[in-house]
């Protein structure tokens, strides 16, 4: 049985919000009986782009991660649901019945991803239903995918084994794997959002003029052992990425222009060490 999955590439999301807006276009003011009641004009973002700003001026980057109902295979909302309002379709899509779920605000808290939204006017918990009403009419893609200019969002319908293989082979990750919810929304390049870096700019003075040092060797040491190496570019910049946040003390050892320098760093979030003069 082929089932729907969503694959999102964090490196290609520009925060244009077209997926978010197309979900509003699709659901605000529109009733899709059996799938969803109208989304309120304000207050809900069934597709919600999270962002992470990393580093300090001027060495920074920003990652955007569109999030939505994960259509979990082990969905906490279904466990919390005592009324049979939430069901999982054979194609993997989780639907909150807009009639049966009325009044069940507790379902909002059941989602560890914050993606069940409370509709105050209709007294209804709501989530993004994977555009199931469109897929059932023969659409081959979701609204967000259609609107996405970069192909950062892609819905695919495949066997679970094929999806698992793809996730393994291509290094796809899910949000909050520790929650054990088995999400059907996967992310490529999630490290851009979840990991951190240490970087800096190496310079040296010669004849009273300070210049960037290109080609300096840089080693990242953890507990005295080198965990990564890098070479500075023509701006003297180096960057060690994909490090864990709050991973503690590191030493950055730089050698260039016949000189050496070591800088200590305590890594909480991404850190730019700024100019390092050899």
């Amino acid at each position: 049985m082929k089932k729907w999955n969503m694959i999102i590439d964090v490196a290609e999301c520009t925060n244009c919000q077209l997926c978010t807006l197309s979900a509003m276009d699709e659901y605000v003011g529109n009733d899709w009986p059996g799938y969803s009641a109208p989304m309120p004009r304000h207050g809900h973002r069934w597709i919600d782009i999270k962002q992470k700003e990393r580093g300090q001026v001027p060495m920074i980057d920003i990652a955007y991660a569109p999030t939505m109902c994960n259509h979990c295979d082990d969905a906490p909302c279904m466990k919390a649901d005592k009324t049979g309002a939430i069901s999982k379709r054979d194609d993997g899509i989780v639907i909150i019945d807009p009639v049966k779920a009325k009044g069940h605000k507790e379902l909002v808290d059941a989602c560890p991803y914050g993606h069940i939204w409370w509709n105050d006017e209709l007294q209804l918990p709501q989530a993004w239903p994977f555009d199931a009403h469109l897929l059932d009419q023969g659409w081959q893609q979701t609204r967000g995918q259609q609107a996405c200019p970069t192909g950062a969002m892609r819905a695919i319908k495949v066997e679970d084994e094929d999806m698992a293989r793809m996730a393994r082979d291509e290094g796809l990750e899910v949000m909050k794997p520790e929650a054990g919810t088995k999400p059907r929304v996967y992310y490529r390049n999630l490290w851009r959002y979840s990991k951190c870096f240490i970087g800096g700019s190496v310079s040296a003075e010669a004849n009273g003029v300070v210049d960037c040092v290109e080609g300096a060797g840089v080693r990242l040491l953890k507990d005295g052992a080198a965990v990564a190496t890098a070479t500075t570019d023509n701006y003297g910049d180096f960057k060690f990425d994909r490090l864990d946040e709050d991973s503690g003390r590191y030493a950055v050892e730089i050698s260039g222009n016949g000189r050496k320098k070591t800088v200590e760093a305590n890594l909480g979030v991404s850190l730019s060490l700024g100019e390092i003069r050899l």
Partner: protein, 1014 residues
């Protein structure tokens, strides 16, 4: 009866059958003929034969002959002419010629005649099928937003959804670019800008104007209370009353004051469509009634028009460069793109949706090996998308950084010396300035660091990399001279120095050009469809690009404004409230036109007493806009009418408000990003050229009407409606535009109406347009497909540039002829008059950047309870109000105790705006950032005397022009203070107070400590 008379009689008989048949067939037509009781007739004046049509209580009767009691008579000079003109298909050129030669005349009341003419025309088009029925029972129509084309799905009279268009297999082919072993083809779909995808929510907005309104304390025959504009409420009135007030006022003023008393002011943009656009219907209307033009400054081109043109010409592109072939050349030959104050991921070029995004995504492919670096005080969306070194000069200072780059090139020999020798003039003069030979100050990287804050070592490294690589310089959002830093106080210097840098590196060589893949796709440039600035139905050959092509392709009555008076837009409040202003012209014909000064009032003209305003954008989009608040409250303005879709901004300062509908509720036709004129071939921002028939998806909401209808109704009361409309309906104009274009060769009108769109196939590879400036670099005649400059601006036709020397001029001949101390012949660095060198910088120590917004399009899409309000990077909900976002450096925020979403007061002497704070590392210390163009103006007390929480940051920006002898906007940067908001709503705007005639008011407010302490 002769043959011609017989022929005419038969045609008229056929017409009477057609009208009766249509009335039987279509309820819509039955309703139409019920509107009036009258007798109208066609007659041949020579033979005195004709046919009359009587409309009475919804029935049509008709008979052979000429009646003396007819209300309306359409007369042909003779039967032969009548038969010719009425024989379908209508030949519009013959129609126009017959009118101009008075061979076709109309007698009777203009309004009745117009009704009759439009009713006859409607007989031909009523019942035309529009749109495509879909399997789910909905109808699919097409439309065009400022952010791209849409399929509009409609069910039960309601818009269900709007989507981009996935191209069908039989739609026009896509292009493929081969570069460095890759074959690059865009996906077969159209894209949307966020404001395009937002469109449904602004159609169904609670802020829509649904009926005409009058200010409660405005009495056209008694007290008008102009001082209460912006404060008083409104009452609903009928269309008849609204049109009566407007037309009575037009007539009264013209009789009382004489020419010039009425000013018409519109925004720089409008809802899309070649008929309904401001350059079309509005221009025909305003030319017909006669008006003082509010003369626009070149608002997105400022530095390029007033500065860059002197170095390289291109006045018909307002100083922006040629644009052709650069996508292919960049992908094939360039090593590095230097993105300088350029953020196409935010601005979408102009109307280009996310089309450029798709191409810039190709840059991420390492096989191309193209590096990108970014120069911008803000780590912008393009820098986020395309990782690369970020240089963050303080706002307004980057000309100094550019000069230091040129300095390094000179010192280290890293420029194309041969090219400079053969293709440029005046380099030695500029080099002498850079090296310090002229003024004793070498423009070293260390020199610039003091101004810009960018480390000297980084600038040196950039100069060395640039000087040894093939580089595309991308200044501004278009990547070739538009937007970006050209809109701040040093914008002229910046644009000039950008051209100078390109001139040192062999502009036109393979891989060396201007661009960032936003413009320059290999689309078909020979398939004609008029751009919006070609003027549509305006008949205006002076103020639109109609003379380029459209006037011959779409014959129409010419229109000409009889008034010569102009108001310089930047100084509009001073002109109206103080009665005096002067400006300089924006005319693309030549470099020298910009030196022409004009004065308001023009000699012998009446000062402006009435303002016809189109929309409500100015408070959000112009600068230091408390001036406009004061202007509206001036007694000099006896009448203000605002024709707007939404009740926002300045619409709340009008005496009478006329509700217009959106483009989804009327008929129109257009091409995506088809600009024409100064944005010639704007379609080269696209991956596929898409032309749209804009079907009315729904009926106009409430009593709102199309702009065309409103203008025509006003014209009816002035006897001008047959001149304005040429007696035809909007759908007929749509057809005339269709007939003017090459569309008629490839798709029938009927099919276009149903299908809704046409995709122009990509150009064959061997016929693609040449690369911009390649001809110049190779010393050939100009061969890119643009007719600019004008023939007389060449020394030898098609040889060289528009400059006097025909070369790139480091030392500008035009600026040697026109002496201007602020624009010397070579570009020099002069710090901004508002910035770190300002005396007020102690009180206002933060530089505020106010660039164009990412999610809304100017004021379009913002406010209006639109979906965009839900986007936290656009507006933030705090305590029940959607506040505009102010970004500031995280340390600056911490120092002020400001955290995310705290409400802060952003202020200076000009005003105060309450925003939601967003501390960030995307800005250096001392710089903050908030988009300009809020649609919401929400003073928390009296306008001008209180804080605004709508987000109109342009209340704070300077309106002074960049230099004295230019009409150039400079307000993209200002200095402000930011502090946690204490909840006080009073804040006296010094600007407002300075314009207050009552000095006591100002003193009282000062004593009450409502002015920021000095």
């Amino acid at each position: 009866m002769n043959i011609a008379a017989l022929k005419l009689s038969l045609i008229l008989l056929g017409l009477s059958w057609l009208l009766k048949f249509q009335a039987w067939r279509h309820p819509e037509y039955r309703a139409r003929i019920k509107e009036k009781n009258l007798t109208a007739q066609f007659m041949a004046r020579d033979e005195e034969i004709g046919r009359w049509f009587t409309f009475r209580d919804g029935t049509i009767s008709s008979g052979f002959g000429v009646r003396k009691d007819a209300d309306v008579t359409v007369g042909f000079k003779n039967a032969a002419l009548g038969a010719d003109l009425l024989m379908p298909p209508i030949n519009w050129l013959d129609q126009i010629n017959a009118q101009k030669e008075f061979q076709l005349t109309v007698q009777g009341d203009d309004g009745l005649a117009n009704w009759f003419a439009q009713t006859v025309m409607m007989g031909q088009t009523v019942g035309l099928q529009m749109g495509t029925p879909m399997p789910d029972g909905s109808m699919r129509y097409c439309n065009m937003t400022n952010g791209g084309p849409v399929f509009v799905s409609v069910k039960d009279g309601k818009i269900v959804r709007m989507t981009p268009i996935d191209l069908a297999e039989d739609d026009g082919a896509s292009f493929t670019i081969e570069a460095r072993g890759l074959k690059l083809t865009p996906p077969r779909k159209t894209t949307l800008a966020p404001h395009g995808q937002n469109a449904k929510s602004i159609v169904y907005s609670p802020d829509r104007l649904l009926y005409p309104m009058k200010r409660v304390d405005f009495d056209p025959n008694g007290a008008r209370n102009p001082q209460n504009r912006g404060k008083s409420g409104y009452v609903r009135i009928s269309w008849d009353e609204a049109i009566t007030i407007v037309t009575d006022e037009i007539k009264r003023q013209k009789y009382t004051y004489g020419p010039g008393c009425i000013a018409v002011s519109h925004g720089s943009h409008h809802t899309w469509g070649n008929v309904g656009y401001y350059l079309s219907a509005l221009f025909r209307f305003s030319n017909a009634i006669g008006m003082t033009r509010v003369h626009h400054n070149p608002d997105s081109w400022e530095g390029w028009y007033w500065g860059a043109v002197h170095h390289w010409g291109h006045t018909l592109r307002v100083g922006q460069s040629e644009t052709y072939g650069t996508v292919e050349d960049c992908l094939q030959n360039c090593d590095m793109i230097v993105s300088w104050a350029a953020d196409p991921e935010t601005t979408s070029g102009s109307y280009g949706a996310q089309e450029g995004t798709i191409r810039r995504q190709w840059l991420k492919n390492p096989k191309l090996g193209i590096k990108v670096v970014h120069v911008d005080p803000y780590y912008n969306a393009t820098a986020q998308f395309l990782p690369g070194k970020w240089f963050a000069p303080k706002p307004t200072t980057s000309p100094a950084m550019a000069m230091a780059i040129a300095y390094v090139w000179i010192k280290e020999g890293l420029y194309d010396k041969e090219y400079v020798k053969t293709h440029t003039v005046g380099f030695d003069k500029w080099a002498a300035y850079l090296t310090g030979e002229e003024d004793g100050t070498p423009k070293t990287p260390e020199w610039q660091e003091k101004e810009t804050g960018v480390p000297a070592r980084d600038v040196r490294a950039l100069a060395r990399e640039w000087g040894t690589k093939r580089v595309y310089l991308a200044p501004g959002g278009w990547g070739n001279g538009h937007g970006g830093a050209c809109r701040n106080q040093t914008g002229i210097q910046w644009a000039r120095v950008m051209v100078c840098l390109s001139s040192m590196q062999g502009l036109g060589k393979p891989g060396c050009n201007m661009g960032n893949l936003q413009w320059g796709t290999p689309v078909d440039f020979n398939f004609y469809f008029p751009g919006y600035s070609e003027g549509g139905m305006s008949g205006d050959l002076e103020n639109t690009a109609m003379p380029v092509a459209l006037y011959q392709r779409m014959p129409q009555l010419p229109t000409m404004n009889s008034n010569g008076q102009l108001i310089p837009r930047i100084w509009m409040p001073e002109a109206i409230a103080d009665g005096k202003a002067e400006g300089y012209r924006w005319v693309g014909k030549s470099i020298e036109h910009q030196f022409g000064k004009f004065m308001y009032p023009a000699p012998g003209h009446s000062p402006v007493k009435m303002l016809y305003k189109y929309g409500g954008s100015i408070l959000g989009t112009m600068n230091n806009t408390n001036r406009h608040v004061r202007m509206y409250q001036s007694e000099n303005l006896e009448f203000v009418v605002n024709q707007s879709i939404w009740f926002e901004g300045e619409a709340k300062f009008a005496d009478v408000v006329l509700p217009a509908c959106t483009n989804f509720e009327r008929t129109d036709i257009s091409e995506w990003a088809g600009l024409g004129g100064y944005g010639h071939h704007g379609q080269q921002q696209l991956n596929h050229r898409v032309i749209i028939f804009q079907a009315p998806a729904i009926k106009p909401l409430g009593e709102s009407k199309s702009d065309y209808w409103i203008f025509n109704e006003i014209c009816k009361r002035l006897g001008l409606s047959n001149y304005f409309s040429e007696g035809i309906n909007e759908i007929d104009w749509v057809k005339r535009i269709y007939l003017s274009s090459d569309l008629k060769k490839v798709i029938s009108f009927k099919k276009l109406l149903k299908r809704g769109y046409y995709v122009v196939p990509a150009e064959k590879e061997k016929l693609r347009a040449p690369v911009s400036f390649r001809w110049f670099w190779e010393g050939r005649k100009k061969d890119v497909p643009e007719a600019q400059p004008l023939p007389s601006d060449y020394k030898e036709y098609l040889s060289g540039l528009q400059t006097q020397s025909g070369k790139l001029e480091f030392e500008c001949n035009s600026l040697k002829r026109f002496k201007d101390p602020e624009r010397p012949p070579i570009v020099k660095y002069e710090p901004s008059w508002e910035g770190p060198h300002s005396p007020e910088f102690g009180r206002y120590p933060l530089q505020l950047l106010t660039p164009h917004s990412k999610y809304s399009f100017h004021t379009q899409g913002d406010g209006k309870s639109s979906f965009l309000n839900n986007i936290a990077d656009h507006r933030v909900l705090v305590g029940g109000w959607y506040y505009w976002v102010l970004r500031l450096n995280a340390d600056d925020a911490a120092e002020r105790g400001i955290k995310r979403n705290d409400l802060v007061k952003v202020f200076n002497d000009r005003g105060a705006v309450i925003c939601a704070a967003l501390p960030t590392e995307r800005l250096t210390r001392g710089v903050c950032h908030g988009y300009e163009s809020s649609a919401v103006y929400a003073p928390m007390g009296e306008p001008g005397k209180s804080v605004d929480r709508g987000g109109c940051l342009n209340l704070l920006t300077p309106h002074k022009t960049q230099t004295k002898s230019t009409h150039s906007l400079a307000g993209a940067q200002s200095i402000v203070q930011v502090e946690l908001w204490d909840g006080r709503t009073e804040h006296m705007s010094e600007t407002f107070a300075a314009m207050e005639k009552d000095k006591d008011v100002k003193r009282t407010l000062q004593e009450a400590n409502l002015v920021p302490a000095k």
